[in-house]
């Protein structure tokens, strides 16, 4: 007890006669709102600096010198302040402000997208004058004009509140829109021919308090009163932004960001905001397909599943279970991933499963390294960035890190093969050759001695304590070994350091948690550690550790994989080595694709099963922190497309097995019981209000971080009120949160009660006979009671604790005592040394990603697809000159795999000896050059014009031709 307990920590103010306690420094408008008094506003936004631009929030304030009108968004509360928000003087001022704002406003509400959810409409009705005295002609502009491919501007409607312009500068760091001209002629616009090409442009549409900014994908699609919505989590990348998913007539029409304090603060990136178009796409698969000769033809679920069961069964019987493999799963919800993991291990009998397609980090590292949350990273003081360009791959994490750097003094120390979007913000940005980041990390941690002044300076920023490291895969053209070795070096040198994963795929972290990785079982345990526990829960487990994606495709190419399941995986587009993917798929015997679209890979399959995707299914997803949040269904899947876990259950049944789950809730209960990292995360807890921010499993929390403890729930924070802060305050208030049960309607899926689940499941598949035995046999999820499960929460992560058995068919099992396996701990893998020497004619390849790529969701979203424009090869100007090439000329680029013709451009952000390409853009590219079985990929450049001597200027003409 300190003597400070008596000190008053709040500020007392009086609002309309009521005494209210406010936080010191809090703005009056925010304090009033927390106390239940809504002061009208346009420019104020809780996630941005106040500017006092619109004067709508003007109220009478008395700080002892008599009442005066003041903008409540600009003044912090002060002890004894008296505020009148409804006095005649305040009312008159509000009337005046609104009358002025409406002078220039066209009042074309009937044809305005915002009409019905418009703060200007609503506040005029609530606080404005009944009539305007303005009878003159209003100003006119051409309308609307495009600010970018995604955002349109209606300048007549703009009230100059400065929200969009502030957002673009303050939050996104892309000040491409600005106030132009002055006075009555002021307008928001871009520089001529320099569009508002920001990855975050859609946020301005959401926060614009009028209908001035319009999103092209939503324009004229619906009226607010037609919209129906649920709250869900974006799975377009692994940040896991919370958003409202809105539909009209069973079609998704809009995503809006929801303010979740630990994650996205209300922001979305444009990919996550607009990729709902892919869900609605015409090209979605609506019925199962089977191969008849050269063609894939539509068929019934019954026939397709029989074909899959026979194909996989025959391969298993003839060539053994290890001839089967499952690739993919990052698209899946946690529940799907768990059921597929169980299916692979028990029914198929193989450990050849991998949710990553050779483009991530080894699962043992992702799951085993001590974790940091986004909040912890932002509060860390110094963060080491070791991974991809965060803005391109995890956009809203970029916003959070940028905010921490720009507004909170976070220092970034970046280790990367080329310049990234964060390089300019970094306190130190160090370059390494592809494949040599471990060496650079070593030099950095040993104080930078002998490694040059830059490294020494960066080292001085690190202090001596533990640090937070953002860890990912900087380049797909190098093996992840060096990054893992760098992490090991960091952990050894700075015990207590924590890691924030920068893997990008939607639910890749959930898929890994659920055991979709070779040698990993659900709950972050290794096959060896979890053998007893899961044998008891599941009945059987594969003997040997299986192959990862690279191993699987290599084995397939050698004819050793006879049955391959692609779970939303498209190795021909996504695997870093297209040649290996092609050979593997060609020789893989029987191939099944579970997918929403026909992709390059699923086109080669023997059977294609149509899957329900985001927006069409309930469940949970896990973000890069390990945070688990809820997915909610909004629309029904097209045709007979099914949810992935149901497909697994049905497939198992065709193969004569019963996975013992009939609803999402049952699956989650089984996860909670069997997966040690998730113990205690009951489905009841997932339905609480705190779960709206996402819940961190105990195994994630069990780390010592330097920053403040990660927040599991901040429902009391002012910022977390989505409605108030995001311009969502005017939507119909039906965001499904607590009510929507985990197991509730997946269209034709089982209901939340579970009763009748078998029937509806049977109906869903149109095959009653096959599902008759649901609910019989063993149900693994009936073991240890809830009390034990929660008790296990705290310590399951650290060491095996005596708890109830994970499952074990009924009461007997529950009585027996058994140790939950410990969750995986990171250990430095024994690996090869450094990469081979680079010969002086070659450059070492870096293949990084862009936000807009040829991935399915972008490719099938008409508004986004044109933004994937490809990119030239980028080379240091000195190298270009050394090789006798001109920037902008077409060149021949060769690796051990193939030769491509590309445009080469000079880029000072690429160090000498390195060549940088963008991965997965339309057409041939990096994947054709990369050899995934080597540590690095070296390439050579030649001029295209054979005849011209090296170093001549003749390549200019080539450039104009290209």
């Amino acid at each position: 007890m300190s003597e400070q307990t008596e000190v008053k920590t709040t500020v007392s103010i009086t609002i309309d006669g009521r005494t209210v306690e406010a936080q010191p420094g809090e703005l009056l408008i925010a304090a009033a709102e927390r106390a239940g008094t809504y002061i009208p506003r346009f420019c104020y936004h809780p996630r941005m600096e106040p500017v006092g631009m619109c004067r709508m929030c003007i109220v009478e304030v008395d700080t002892g010198r008599g009442p005066a009108l003041q903008p409540s968004c600009m003044i912090p509360v002060a002890e004894g302040m008296t505020v009148a928000t409804e006095s005649p003087v305040t009312k008159k001022a509000q009337d005046g402000v609104l009358e002025f704002l409406l002078i220039n406003h066209p009042l074309d509400c009937p044809v305005c997208d915002k009409g019905g959810e418009c703060p200007l409409q609503d506040q005029t009705l609530a606080f404005g004058p009944g009539e305007s005295r303005f009878v003159e002609e209003k100003r006119h502009y051409a309308k609307p004009i495009p600010l970018s491919d995604l955002v349109y501007m209606d300048r007549e409607r703009c009230i100059l509140c400065d929200r969009c312009t502030r957002f673009s500068k303050e939050v996104a760091g892309d000040p491409l829109i600005t106030f132009i001209n002055r006075g009555n002629a002021t307008e928001v616009n871009t520089f001529p021919d320099d569009p508002f090409a920001s990855y975050f442009s859609g946020n301005t549409v959401q926060i614009c308090p009028v209908g001035a900014l319009l999103a092209r994908p939503y324009r004229f699609k619906a009226r607010p009163w037609d919209l129906d919505q649920v709250e869900s989590t974006c799975t377009a990348c692994a940040v896991g932004c919370r958003m409202a998913v809105q539909s009209s007539s069973n079609t998704l029409v809009r995503h809006l960001g929801i303010d979740v304090d630990p994650v996205n603060w209300g922001w979305l990136c444009d990919k996550g905001r607009f990729d709902f178009e892919a869900v609605n796409a015409e090209e979605r698969l609506r019925a199962p397909l089977v191969r008849k000769g050269d063609e894939l033809v539509e068929t019934s679920w019954s026939e397709a599943l029989t074909a899959v069961a026979e194909g996989l069964g025959a391969a298993r019987d003839r060539h053994g279970a290890s001839s089967l493999a499952v690739l993919g799963g990052a698209r899946l919800a946690n529940e799907d991933a768990y059921v597929w993991s169980k299916l692979a291990r028990t029914v198929l009998g193989t450990d050849n499963v991998d949710a990553q397609l050779g483009d991530g980090l080894p699962a043992a590292a992702v799951l085993g390294l001590p974790r940091a949350t986004i909040d912890a990273a932002c509060a860390a003081g110094t963060v080491i960035l070791l991974g991809p360009d965060i803005k391109e791959e995890l956009p809203v994490l970029y916003l959070r890190l940028r905010d921490a750097v720009v507004h909170k003094g976070l220092r970034l120390v970046e280790l990367s093969p080329t310049e990234t979007s964060l390089s300019r913000l970094a306190a130190a940005s160090l370059r390494h050759r592809p494949g040599e980041v471990a060496q650079l990390m070593g030099a950095l941690l040993s104080g930078g001695r002998g490694a040059g002044p830059e490294v020494a300076e960066a080292a001085s920023l690190l202090g001596d304590g533990p640090v937070v490291c953002v860890l990912g895969r900087a380049s797909l053209a190098e093996s992840p070994d060096s990054a893992v070795a760098a992490a090991a070096t960091l952990l050894e040198a700075r015990p207590g350091s924590t890691f924030l994963s920068a893997l990008r795929r939607g639910n890749v972290h959930g898929a890994l948690d659920m055991g979709l990785a070779p040698g990993i079982l659900p709950g972050r345990v290794t096959l060896a550690d979890g053998r007893d526990w899961f044998t008891s829960a599941w009945g059987s487990l594969p003997e040997a550790e299986g192959l990862d994606a690279t191993g699987t495709l290599t084995a397939a190419a050698a004819g050793e994989i006879r049955g391959l399941v692609l779970l939303g995986a498209d190795p021909l587009s996504d695997f870093p080595d297209r040649d290996l993917a092609r050979r593997g798929l060609a020789a893989a015997g029987f191939v099944v694709a579970v997918d929403a679209f026909l992709t390059d890979s699923s086109r080669l399959a023997d059977v294609v099963l149509p899957a329900a995707i985001f927006g069409e299914r309930d469940g949970t997803t896990t973000n890069l922190e390990g945070r688990i949040s809820r997915l909610n269904q909004k629309v029904t899947a097209p045709g007979s497309a099914r949810v992935d876990w149901m497909i697994a259950v049905e497939l198992a049944s065709r193969m004569g097995a019963d996975l013992g789950v009939e609803s999402l809730e049952e699956i989650w209960d089984e996860i909670e019981r069997c997966a040690p990292s998730h113990a205690g995360l009951t489905s009841d807890r997932l339905r609480t209000a705190e779960a709206l921010d996402g819940l961190l499993p105990a195994a994630t929390l069990d780390v010592e971080t330097e920053g403040p403890p990660p927040t599991m729930s901040q429902v009391d924070e002012p910022g977390s009120n989505a409605a108030a802060s995001q311009g969502m305050d005017h939507l119909p208030g039906n965001v499904q949160t607590e009510e929507s049960a985990l197991g509730s309607g997946t269209g034709s899926g089982p209901g939340p009660e579970g009763a009748g689940g078998a029937d509806s499941m049977a109906a869903a598949f149109g095959a009653q006979g096959d599902t008759a035995d649901y609910g019989e046999g063993t149900t693994p999820a009936e073991g240890g009671g809830e009390a034990e499960a929660i008790a296990r929460t705290a310590d399951a992560a650290t060491e095996g604790t005596t708890v109830g058995e994970p499952s074990g068919g009924g009461t007997e099992g529950a009585a027996e005592e058994r140790r939950a396996p410990r969750t995986i701990r990171f250990a430095r893998p024994g690996g090869p040394g450094g990469p081979p020497r680079l010969d002086s004619y070659s450059l070492r390849l870096v293949a990084s990603r862009r936000l807009y790529d040829a991935g399915t969701f972008v490719a099938h979203s008409p508004s986004l697809a044109p933004l994937a424009v490809g990119a030239p090869l980028r080379v240091n100007p000195a190298d270009l000159e050394r090789l006798g090439l001109t920037s902008g000329s077409r060149i021949r680029l060769s690796s051990s795999r193939t030769t491509l013709v590309l445009v080469a451009e000079a880029d000072l952000g690429v160090p000498r000896g390195t060549a940088a390409l963008v991965f997965n853009q339309p057409g041939r590219g990096a994947a054709d050059l990369i050899d995934a079985t080597t540590a690095v990929t070296d390439v050579r450049l030649e001029t295209l014009a054979e005849a011209s001597p090296v170093g001549s200027r003749s390549s200019r003409r080539e450039a104009s031709g290209g």
Binding site: D174, I180, F191
Partner: protein, 195 residues
């Protein structure tokens, strides 16, 4: 010419170096651009953005706030004729008509030879000297029609180019005062750069 010339880029570097934050050099650099071309071109704004680490939009935002930065071509001589009340009472409108007739263009336009741009403006704060006009912001008080004709003849003949430099020319009055004349002021940090 569009972007800043090499000489002006050097000058820009010197100007930027005067400020603790490079962004503060934005308005001086816009003057340099306007001096170079008589108006501020888009290319010059983009160039200034590069030099200051700003987006072209940010440069445009500032540039367009100040009406004396012109973003359209302007004649060598910008003729602003006041038609506000005091001048109007003493023949300002007739003066504007005469100017338009004499130069053969309407207010808002530029003569074909690029010599003159005519504009009508609101009060330019010389009401006691009405009617009045400005050429490149130099005042001509109580100007008669004949007086204006003589002025045009002089300007065309280049007789007054010292007094009225081409549109956009900045003066460097402060900078040409010898440092010694600022005795005492330098100590508080106001010493001007010479040149």
């Amino acid at each position: 010419m569009a972007r800043l010339s090499p000489e002006n880029e050097v000058l820009a570097g010197q100007i930027i170096a005067r400020y603790p934050r490079s962004r503060s050099a934005l308005i001086p650099l816009l003057h340099v651009a306007q001096q170079q071309d008589g108006w501020v071109t888009d290319e010059a704004m983009a160039h200034i953005g590069e030099l200051l680490g700003l987006t072209p939009a940010e440069v445009l935002g500032t540039c367009s706030f100040y009406e004396m930065f012109r973003r359209e071509p302007v004649g060598t001589y910008l003729v602003n004729v006041c038609t506000n009340i005091s001048c109007q009472l003493l023949g300002g409108e007739e003066l504007l008509e005469h100017v338009e007739q004499r130069l053969g263009v309407k207010a808002g336009a530029t003569t074909a030879d690029g010599m003159f741009t005519v504009e009508d403006v609101e009060c330019i704060a010389a009401c006691t000297e009405a009617p009045c006009l400005q050429v490149n912001y130099r005042y001509f008080h109580r100007i008669t029609h004949q007086g204006f004709d003589a002025l045009v003849d002089d300007l065309r003949a280049g007789r007054r180019s010292d007094e009225i430099p081409p549109h956009g020319t900045t003066t460097r009055l402060r900078q040409t005062i010898p440092a010694g004349r600022w005795a005492g002021v330098g100590a508080v940090g106001l010493a001007p750069e010479v040149g």
